[in-house]
């Protein structure tokens, strides 16, 4: 049985409106389903309301495309139409919204782009801060150590837990929406100290001086740890933002790493003993040359050297990376048969516009998207893709049917965009 606090009982009884009642009903069922006993307050939520099925499917379920009815059914799992007044917790939107300027380049075209806009407007109407990013920590939603959050989207969850030391499980569309409305989330999993200790040690044998190696390490370890938390030891350097984003994104693509420690780097791992809580490990791994190559080969599965599309910016590109790509493209022109798509958050796009990065990318023939995601692009499945993101390699085939993908560092991807050929290899 779940024990509820007086304010939770009030919400459940419907004394604070139908929206809070439906949200609390859903949270109670979800808490029971997890086997948890109570809820905890949260004032930091990210919702992934853009991740809805294709507009053709939505129309079959909600023929009018009325946004309150879509929200009631898909976000709140309510059979009746509920008009949400205002969210209680500080809430921001995750990515998976369409860049309104390019309806024809994203799946579902104009109709899907318009629906995405309606959902964005709906979010703003009920008090959600529309950031539209998979990297909220780049756009002003930065939880503090120990803060209870209810976040969605895979790589951000690992970043929230491991790098910031805040606490979140991998929430879904409906649970995060219910948390936004009520300011509550189940006290379970990553919210509890005993579930945050490392279980598998990973000895880093390489110098790890480039972003690609962090993608490869995350991808390799993700394949081998199951639901256990890895503890990286022997890190010879302090990884920067881009390296940590890569590690988070890769580990939760090949596997389910929602939390990890890097001894001497991450906030809950000042020492190995503290990171593991002095508990027994279930396994030990190494990450050296052999393991790096295993991951690289797993990620490179193209059969042709001609490249048609280059996608960068998964997770949403940082300012540092936008600056370097802009530098690589300065005065260059991409190959006429190649499309270059780069995705970032709207806050970084704003800065990139002001500093001329966007103009340089555009002049070279590329497009800098805001809000959107590589898996939302409308691509022909017979095309060959090159990307610097292990996460994109993992998700693009399932979302688009495209099978031929090259993975390599940004420089090799930009070279492919300019020449139309893949010449990358593991160096």
């Amino acid at each position: 049985m779940i024990s509820l606090s007086p304010d939770e009982k009030e919400m459940l009884a419907g004394n604070q409106g139908l929206d809070k009642k439906r949200a609390m009903e859903l949270l109670v069922k979800y808490t029971e389903a997890l086997g948890a006993r109570k809820l905890v307050n949260t004032n930091n939520v990210t919702v992934i309301l853009g991740a809805i099925p294709d507009v053709g499917i939505i129309r079959k379920i909600v023929p009018t495309l009325d946004v309150d009815e879509i929200a009631s059914k898909f976000f709140l799992d309510s059979d009746d139409r509920v008009v949400v007044s205002r969210v209680k917790a500080f809430t921001t939107t995750n990515a998976y919204f369409y860049d309104q300027r390019y309806p024809d380049l994203q799946r579902g075209g104009k109709e899907a782009t318009e629906l995405s806009k309606q959902i964005a407007d709906y979010c703003a109407r009920i008090g959600i801060v529309h950031l539209s990013t998979c990297t909220p920590y780049q756009s002003g939603n930065i939880p503090t150590k120990g803060e209870h959050c209810a976040w969605t989207e895979s790589s951000a969850i690992a970043y929230c837990n491991a790098i910031l030391g805040a606490r979140t499980n991998i929430e879904g569309v409906q649970s995060s929406f219910a948390s936004a409305i009520t300011g509550k989330t189940p006290l379970w999993g990553m919210h509890l100290d005993e579930n945050r200790y490392g279980k598998v040690s990973v000895k880093i044998e390489l110098s790890m001086d480039n972003i690609q190696d962090w993608y490869l390490m995350g991808y390799y370890v993700g394949m081998h740890v199951g639901l256990d938390i890895p503890v990286y030891v022997n890190s010879k350097r302090t990884p920067n933002l881009n390296m940590l984003m890569a590690l988070c994104a890769a580990g939760i693509s090949s596997g389910s790493i929602v939390m990890f420690h890097i001894v001497g780097v991450t906030p809950e791992a000042p020492t190995f003993e503290i990171a593991t809580g002095n508990r027994k490990l279930v396994k030990s791994l190494n990450f050296g040359e052999r393991e790096r190559r295993v991951a690289y080969e797993k990620l490179n599965h193209a059969s042709r050297g001609d490249v048609d599309i280059v996608m960068l910016g998964c997770p949403h590109y940082s300012l540092e990376r936008l600056s370097s790509v802009s530098e690589l493209l300065k005065g260059k022109r991409i190959h006429p048969n190649v499309a270059l798509y780069i995705t970032t958050c709207r806050t970084n796009k704003y800065v990139a516009d002001g500093l001329g990065f966007t103009e340089t990318i555009t002049k070279a023939g590329g497009i800098l998207f805001e809000d959107s995601c590589g898996t939302l692009f409308d691509v022909d499945r017979s095309k060959v893709l090159a990307t610097d993101s292990a996460k994109l390699v993992h998700y693009v085939p399932g979302m688009t049917g495209l099978k031929n993908i090259w993975f390599g560092p940004t420089e090799q991807c930009i070279e492919a965009a300019i020449t139309g050929k893949w010449r990358g290899e593991l160096t």
Binding site: L26, A51, I57, G172, P397, M399
Partner: protein, 137 residues
């Protein structure tokens, strides 16, 4: 005919019986189904071309994107959902997924259901009591 009883706990209540569809690994959400027909379309998926509607799904855990629950909920909206879930290890995706898919679901069973149950076995799920009865084919 051999009958096996497994005992665990409820994720989401209800009763169902039908033919099992079993996989050893984690089940995804996004990109796994054609939700209009309930057919598994993910490349390399052990259930590729199988229809999940009317089946009892047996799997290790949930994996992949935060939209897991939405895809399983959409199968219900389209009338193409499975009869029940039997989950070896419950996680947020499988917990929320069962709630919004509104299918009876059990977990924490005394034996690994992905080892004991084979595709094609006849299975009864009484989720409120946490009981699974397996008739081997």
């Amino acid at each position: 005919m051999k009958t096996i009883i497994l005992k665990g706990r409820k994720i989401y209540g209800g009763m169902a019986e039908g033919e099992a569809l079993v996989m050893k690994g984690g089940l995804g959400g996004m990109g796994v189904f054609d939700v209009e027909s309930g057919t598994v379309i993910e490349l390399g998926h052990p259930w590729i071309n199988e229809i999940v509607g009317g089946k009892i799904l047996v799997f290790k855990t949930g994996k992949g994107s935060s939209s897991w629950s939405m895809w399983h909920q959409t199968l219900r909206f389209m009338g193409k959902g499975p009869l029940a879930h039997i989950v070896a290890e419950c996680n947020p995706q499988t917990a929320l997924g069962a709630v919004v898919a509104r299918v009876p679901s059990v977990t924490d069973l005394d034996k690994d259901p992905t080892e004991v149950i084979s595709t094609g076995d006849w299975v009864k799920v009484d989720a409120d009591s946490g009981l699974v009865e397996v008739r081997k084919k």
